[in-house]
């Protein structure tokens, strides 16, 4: 059955207050390689049908949500009944808010437009050439290319007819040489592979492998460190994941005030030495995402009741100040804070900052340049202390120039503390995070110089 028909039949069969059906159709094609040979590939097709029942019960509105893999015509009535019964048996939902009704957006009746391996047609030829060059130059290549088309329909008994199509993709490349003693990485985000320039990736990989000709051990310590945009994205992701309004208001977040008395949040507090902005915006050019909330289950910052609510720009940091925390409408009401919904992308920028990573390197008299960050995990939620590794190349900068490579480190630092240690930033551009690739899509950030970055211990990995 077509997604639209599934939605019409289930919502028509739902004999309760409201029923929202979210159908997601996804096609994906992927290629993976190691030691300059293809190792796996896939052409994937997936569908999910999430059915959400809203049933008036004693004391409020109860909900239930069940997700089915595919639905046949004869299943629709049973499914509508099953989800309704589950809701009827539940207690009133804590996250009640008025449901959105009678709203249409997007090309409702069009079919899912699948991606196919054809999307790689040019990339595959260029990759083949790069593999050949690399094999003759004793460089080993490891990497991954993925392209996804996802169509989402949100329809309801109450008249929601919303549709959004999200393309996403990326290519990642690790280059190793000299018996794998040298290693570097490059990643590029894409929506259709038209911007993928393999020759440019090849050049970047070779330049950095050459930088590793000189290598020395340096001790753990605090270093002025230059981060490419992708590492900045990885570093700040946990901060956004930890910015739920409800936890902050309850006193159990880095964004809770700890000055004694009743818990309040740090909204309004200047947390950065520079006028940094961090925000989500569904209309950001090149990072477009759904302009309405899609939630197949509730959590701390999402609510089933918010399905179909409009998404606009949500400012998390403005001019260096914490300006909002993430909320559902219900949590906003419970915490007496503004409703600022989570978005599907994020952008970091420093107004008036310009220049590239190379320009930032020139500004450093003595410091380090990292390539990527890896295995980032929360150590202490009270300070948002994170730990992680540097990966695939740390370089020493002297007098504004890269002079060679150094060992990797385990670092321990907090992105909230680092906001106060921004020495400079470059221009914001669309980037590919590494650690959170696949979890976090659609990010723009500038490269940055952060002062006193805590390289806690040495890692002998390369």
């Amino acid at each position: 059955m077509k997604p639209q028909e599934i939605i019409e039949r289930i919502t028509a069969a739902a004999n309760y207050e409201d029923c929202i059906v979210i159908v997601e159709s996804k096609t994906q094609t992927n290629l993976r390689w190691a030691s300059s040979t293809l190792t796996t590939n896939g052409h994937i097709s997936e569908q999910s049908v999430s059915v959400i029942a809203f049933v008036a019960v004693n004391g409020g509105m109860a909900t239930s949500s069940i997700t089915y893999p595919n639905v046949a015509e004869e299943d629709c009535e049973r499914i509508a009944r099953e989800v309704g019964e589950a809701a009827r048996a539940a207690a009133p939902a804590e996250d009640f808010a008025e449901l959105v009704k009678d709203k249409s957006l997007g090309e409702w009746s069009a079919a899912h437009h699948p991606t196919t391996p054809e999307v790689f047609a040019k990339t595959v030829v260029d990759l083949g050439d790069m593999f050949k060059r690399s094999i003759s130059d004793k460089i080993e290549l490891f990497g991954y290319a993925e392209h996804t088309h996802k169509s989402t329909w949100v329809g309801s008994k109450g008249g929601l007819r919303l549709r959004y199509d999200q393309p996403d993709g990326r290519i990642e490349m690790t280059g190793k040489s000299h018996d794998r003693s040298r290693s570097t990485w490059e990643g590029v985000a894409t929506r259709d592979f038209s911007n993928i320039n393999i020759a440019e990736i090849d050049r970047a990989i070779r330049t950095r492998l050459d930088w590793q000709a000189n290598s020395r051990e340096i001790p753990a310590g605090k270093y002025e460190t230059v981060f490419p945009a992708g590492s900045i994205a990885d570093l700040f992701t946990y901060m956004l994941w930890s910015s739920a309004g409800k936890s902050a208001a309850e006193g159990r977040s880095v964004f809770s005030n700890k000055n004694g008395g009743a818990a309040t949040t740090r909204i309004g507090e200047k947390l950065s030495n520079l006028p940094i902005n961090i925000y989500s915006d569904p209309s950001y050019p090149g990072l477009e995402s759904a302009p309405f909330t899609i939630a197949s289950s509730s959590d701390e910052v999402h609510s089933l009741f918010d399905n179909g609510m409009g998404l606009h720009r949500s400012d998390w940091f403005k001019d260096g100040e914490l300006s909002a925390l993430m909320q559902s409408r219900a949590s906003a009401q419970q915490t007496n804070l503004p409703y600022v919904p989570a978005g599907e992308n994020f952008i970091v920028d420093l107004p008036h900052s310009s220049g590239t990573l190379e320009d930032l390197i020139k500004k450093v008299d003595s410091g380090l340049l990292v390539t990527t960050l890896w295995y980032i995990r929360m150590v202490d939620p009270t300070s948002l202390l994170l730990t992680g590794l540097t990966r695939d190349g740390v370089y020493e900068i002297k007098g504004g120039e890269v002079v060679g490579a150094v060992n990797n480190f385990r670092w321990n630092d907090s992105p909230v503390e680092l906001l106060k240690r921004i020495k400079a930033a470059g221009a914001t551009h669309i980037t590919q995070p590494r650690e959170w690739a696949g979890d976090v899509e659609r990010v723009a950030a500038p490269p940055m110089i952060l002062e006193d970055f805590n390289m806690s211990t040495i890692s002998q990995a390369n």
Partner: protein
């Protein structure tokens, strides 16, 4: 004794044989030398209770077919959510086409180690109560009850309960004639008590470990939930008032509720052979334990004996046949401190000249290709070793660590850093109170080399996780790790407050 469960009738009712036969025949007619096909259905339920109300409820089923071929030594893979004969034939065409597209980029000629064929095999894991047969209300009642118990304490300002339960059904068939149908169930639950003070907050989580059980896990017969919940506020109150650790070197007595994760990261991942030869170099990483060191690498002290298995009852990685039709096995990975074995699938075994896979192929969904994933990797108890009290009494100046929390390890599995839930200070063989802000950091072989005492079987617990990640596209697997309590000499301990510049 577990009551014998059966594969659900509605999964058995799917036209499994006909669909697989159609896919296999079509792929063979198009030139495939190997075909494997999986029909899968995986149902996952999640409940998150915040204080005494539901925050998250989900019940999510994925289903479909995944079909993999080898054509002229190159892989091809295709998947679909529709389980039908027609669809299986279409997937065969797509997979063969993808293999042909891939051929020019492939310098490795894929071969697989042989395996006997197993026809019409059926297996079900050892659980008693299908968690999906219990209503959401009954589950919520149990979890809210435990949270409410915690919230009675003055020290507990908030409580969080999380439970996740999975039923995984797989029918596998390949072009050699193997055909298996398997069903397994697993449960994970954790409850956290949170204290909020004027200068910050502190929390403590239960030590209960995820395992291959059904809803019976949430009673009091397997894990004593009521007892643990009764004790948690006292432990939290003590932690809130505890001094911050002085960084430096300490003897660590590590409880299995913490040690399982250190085993997972520093041994489990390091002895995946696909990873050791470089297949994960762009993503999960490589390993210091490269194949040239097999039989010679001194991994740890002579008390260190590590096995891999897919056979232990209630193990999260336990199964009868893997996703390449290989029968489950048990083998040595580290013997008397020396690296002696790896985790294999049929391709990687063939690549390094082994004659049989040890059965570690797994795909987490019909949409993903089977790859080498972790078996249950466990540390053996020392039959002559002490019990937990004996271990505590043998420590002069150290810390006992219970429960896992933060974890991170580098891409070659050398440098790791872990935290925990409970840090009990030991002086002169006695526990003298808790500490706060403890992290331990070490290098894999230094750490295992410093293991000077290993507890006996009475200290052994099967721990584990649902969320082990590997591969691109990302795959998630559940895996168990059994461990006794053990003592590690003079490990580097960090103060996490100082690390944060506080």
């Amino acid at each position: 004794m577990s009551r014998a469960q059966q594969v659900d009738a509605d999964f058995l009712a799917l036209p499994r044989q006909a669909v697989c036969q159609a896919g296999i025949e079509m792929a063979q007619s198009l030139g495939a030398s190997h075909v494997d096909i999986r029909i899968e259905r995986v149902r996952t339920g999640i409940l998150q209770i915040r204080d005494v109300a539901i925050e998250t409820q989900s019940d999510d089923t994925i289903a479909g077919i995944g079909l993999r071929v080898i054509v002229d030594g190159a892989w091809g893979f295709a998947s679909s959510p529709i389980v039908s004969i027609e669809q299986a034939r279409l997937l065969a065409q797509q997979a063969v086409e993808l293999a042909r597209i891939s051929k020019p980029l492939s310098t490795e000629f894929i071969e697989l180690t042989p395996e006997p064929t197993y026809k019409d095999q059926i297996w079900v894991s050892a659980y008693e109560i299908d968690p999906f047969s219990i209503s959401t209300e009954e589950k919520v009642e149990r979890l809210v009850g435990l949270n409410a118990q915690l919230l009675k304490s003055e020290v507990v300002d908030h409580a969080e309960a999380f439970t996740m339960f999975v039923k995984e059904q797989k029918h596998y068939a390949d072009s050699y004639g193997t055909s298996t149908t398997q069903q397994r169930v697993r449960m994970q639950s954790a409850i956290e008590a949170i204290n909020i003070a004027s200068d910050g907050f502190e929390s403590m989580r239960t030590l209960a470990q995820p395992a291959g059980y059904g809803w019976e896990w949430m009673g009091n017969s397997i894990w004593k939930w009521d007892d643990e919940i009764a004790e948690l506020p006292t432990l939290l109150a003590e932690k809130v008032k505890a001094p911050i650790v002085e960084p430096g070197r300490y003897d660590l007595l590590i409880h299995p509720s913490n040690l399982w994760l250190t085993i997972h990261e520093s041994i489990g991942h390091a002895t995946e052979l696909d990873r050791a030869v470089g297949y994960e170099a762009n993503y999960a990483g490589t390993s210091f334990a490269t194949p040239d060191k097999l039989g010679t690498l001194k991994y740890g002290s002579s008390l260190m004996n590590i096995t891999g298995d897919r056979t232990i009852e209630h193990g999260l990685s336990t199964i009868r046949f893997d996703d390449e039709g290989v029968q489950a096995q048990e083998w040595d990975i580290v013997k008397d401190g020396t690296l002696v074995g790896y985790q294999l699938d049929r391709r990687i075994a063939a690549r390094v000249g082994q004659n049989r896979s040890n059965g570690c192929a797994f795909a987490d969904s019909p949409s993903h290709i089977p790859i080498q994933r972790m078996p249950n990797v466990s540390l053996k108890a020392n039959p002559q070793g002490p019990d937990l009290n004996g271990l505590i009494e043998s420590v002069d100046d150290g810390i006992m660590i219970k429960g896992d929390n933060s974890w991170s390890i580098d891409m070659q599995r050398y440098n790791f850093q872990f935290t925990g839930q409970q840090f009990h200070r030991i002086k002169n063989g006695k526990i003298v109170g808790q500490l706060r802000n403890v992290a331990y950091q070490s290098i894999t072989t230094d750490f295992w080399g410093s293991m000077k005492a290993v507890g006996n079987q009475s200290t052994w617990v099967l721990g584990g996780a649902f969320n082990c990640g590997k591969a691109q596209p990302g795959q998630v697997a559940a895996v168990s790790h059994g461990a006794p309590a053990a003592i590690f000499e003079q490990v580097n301990v960090l103060n996490t407050a100082a690390e944060a510049g506080k």
